[in-house]
Symmetry: C2
Subunit: 421 residues, 2 copies
């Protein structure tokens, strides 16, 4: 170790995306290593709209490992953090920071402590699982700081031990988490199927659904499903292994009809095995079901899928529109059924890529009120409006994998003290 | 044919109960004969609270078969009615009505026409499937009129062709519908496992849940599940065959804990395969889920099941309390969360066996307002009230099978004209 009298701080800042599964991960075969009962496939979301930024720092002045999440210090004593930190430290190598004249030898990493600050660019209240982006960012940033030689897929096996789905956030675009066979989990990792440019027609709209229910955590939920559902094993052994190559093919060919059929069926089957759990787990509510009806009715009316839906461990809908034109029609439908509260207005109701709103010709509440009922709306859905049932919508798209942020102003820790700014 | 110059009318009136399945029937292997993909088990409900009354009449003056349901004439041209009428006519035998000096020979039945009037003693708006009791009553009454020699289980094979679950309404108490193996459906029939006296501790409370959704008919729903669900086959082949003997054993031993565990798991798995259908079928809504939470929380708090729930093709909850004492505690909980609208009052809010209400010490709205929160209610369920989410409750019990009503004043057809009274 060398440097300015041991007062130096070395920092790395990274940004890592969220991902949304289209072939679902539900059920572990190993709780500690976090090994799943089936492969899964996800789409990485544009980090401009949904991401985690993490700064990791090392300094001989730090007396213990510490972490701040969204500005608040949290404990690192949990097994998941400890597993990730241990796995990364064991792979650390020599670091030479020529700029500041600092050298850290491989053996020093065991003695040095870390400061970690992490921040999500979306409200926690959204109920959007942030642990995937969070653990992926932690692992990616630390791997850079400690000069790990492992590639992203290898790093994904470490992130996986923090939060299963985190492994998929190590890549951009379209990602497969291969369940693997090894008992030690070394082959349970994420690979990129295609990058985010491959299918850039896709538009993603997330409906953040208001909920008064306290939800079962996904860890608890999947454990209870594994223990009690008589359908889960059949799903994992017979259904998913057939769907994985079908989904890979659909993505490869940008075949939206197959993609939509598989994505919706997967979401529904995941919630079906939750319901087959004892006691049953409900993540979707009446608003979620209403959104499904709107999409299913529209798809049936058009004769070919326009939009696919998927729901994770909560009531929020993630909708995939086949292209920008469809996304405009989708947003009009969503605003027709779920208009914004006129007091708060449109600006905070549609976030992310607001340009879709503009292309839809909607600039204010008046334009929403003027939206005609969708033509597919017959007696099947009453023309009722559900103001207040959706908190807001996020417009986004497939996005890139983790990146380093070299702009030092974006660091979350003070470069002198190593404490949160 | 002999009698008073061909002006006679011969009539029979019968009353037949509804039944509620605890091992679910969902999916046909033969759409025309109505042959199921698995066995099912039901409990017959007390006809004092839920039943169909049917009068069937024959007269040489009738020029065609006609039917009135709840006072309104309906068409008999549907395949299901035609199948039942054909099957019954083919088994008709000689009838001698000594009282009126009328003789009808076996061969005459092919030429004679029928009048049928049917009436449900519960509102159609309840969304409680009335076709089971209806077809069972039609078949039972006609079998008597036409002097069929078949026993009730044989008659159940005819009722089955009107509506699958109707076959189970031919018996009282606890009933199994054996799926059978024959292609012609002759061995797909209902048998009684135990009569209604066997386990008369059980109290049944039905929550009629308000719903704005238009529901998928069960015929359409089960066809779509058979065609698209990848989980249904596994359920029918692997899961239900194991649960049937377990449920028979639980009923035989009046083992409420096993009965409750199986009943709830079956209800949830049935709704799981509905959700696994494409497009997904939702019968339960947020109110249904709230009732499940109330029951699950209470059962967990007590450490042993107090109440079981089951939901058919709609949002209504059917709750089984282990005994009268538990039923009182259940009703108090239900009224705590779902109080009646004070304008309409209690009298029309709790129907059926109102004595449970009295034993619960609840005589008016004031008593409902004074109900304390259940002790198991911690932070898990907010102490919110959901007035208006339940339309009303029906208190009932296991009941008897079909009976003939010899009191002629109860006939629904005029004995002279054979037309509705």
């Amino acid at each position: 170790m060398a440097g300015d009298c041991g007062k130096w701080v070395v920092m790395v800042t990274a940004q890592t995306p969220m991902n949304m599964s289209v072939i679902k991960y539900w059920g572990k075969r190993d709780e500690t290593l976090i090994l799943p009962v089936n492969d899964s496939i996800s789409i990485t979301l544009d980090p401009d709209h949904l991401c985690t930024t993490t700064t990791v720092a090392v300094s001989p002045t730090f007396d213990r490992d510490r972490m701040w999440l969204n500005g608040k210090e949290i404990s690192l004593s949990g097994g998941r953090y400890q597993n990730c930190l241990r796995e990364i430290r064991s792979r650390a190598t020599d670091v030479e920071d020529d700029e500041n004249g600092i050298k850290i030898a491989e053996k020093d990493w065991e003695k040095l402590h870390l400061h970690i600050a992490s921040y999500n660019n979306f409200p926690t209240a959204a109920g959007l699982a942030s642990s995937a982006a969070g653990f992926a960012c932690l692992v990616f940033a630390l791997a850079k700081l400690m000069n790990l030689k492992e590639d992203r897929s290898k790093l994904s096996t470490i992130a996986r031990q923090g939060s299963g789905s985190a492994c998929r956030s190590l890549h951009g675009g379209f990602v497969k988490w291969i369940m693997g066979k090894d008992e030690d989990g070394k082959d349970s990792l994420a690979v990129q199927l295609a990058d985010e440019e491959h299918w850039d027609d896709l538009v993603i709209i997330i409906a953040v659904v208001s909920s008064r229910q306290k939800e079962t955590s996904s860890s608890t939920g999947m454990r209870e499903t594994v223990e009690t559902s008589l359908l889960l094993k059949h799903r994992a052994k017979e259904v998913v292994p057939k769907r994985i190559p079908q989904m890979e093919e659909a993505i490869k060919n940008r075949d939206f009809a197959s993609f939509a059929q598989l994505t919706c069926a997967e979401s529904n089957q995941f919630h079906a095995v939750c319901l087959d759990t004892s006691p049953p787990i409900f993540y979707m509510n009446d608003t979620s079901r209403r959104i499904i009806s709107i999409v299913e009715n529209w798809n049936r009316y058009e004769g070919t899928p326009q939009v696919a839906y998927t729901f994770d461990a909560g009531p929020n809908a993630v909708l995939f529109a086949r292209n920008r034109k469809t996304a405009i029609l989708l947003l009009q439908r969503l605003l027709f059924y779920f208009p914004p509260d006129s007091f708060f207005g449109l600006n905070s109701y549609i976030v992310g890529d607001k340009s879709i709103l503009k292309d839809a010709g909607i600039e204010g509440i008046k334009d929403v009120e003027g939206l005609p009922p969708p033509p597919e709306m017959k007696d099947s859905i009453p023309s009722q409006k559900y103001m207040g049932d959706v908190s807001y919508f996020i417009c986004t798209r497939p996005g890139r994998g983790p990146v380093l942020l070299s702009d030092k102003t974006q660091a979350l820790l003070n470069p002198q003290t190593g404490l949160p700014k």
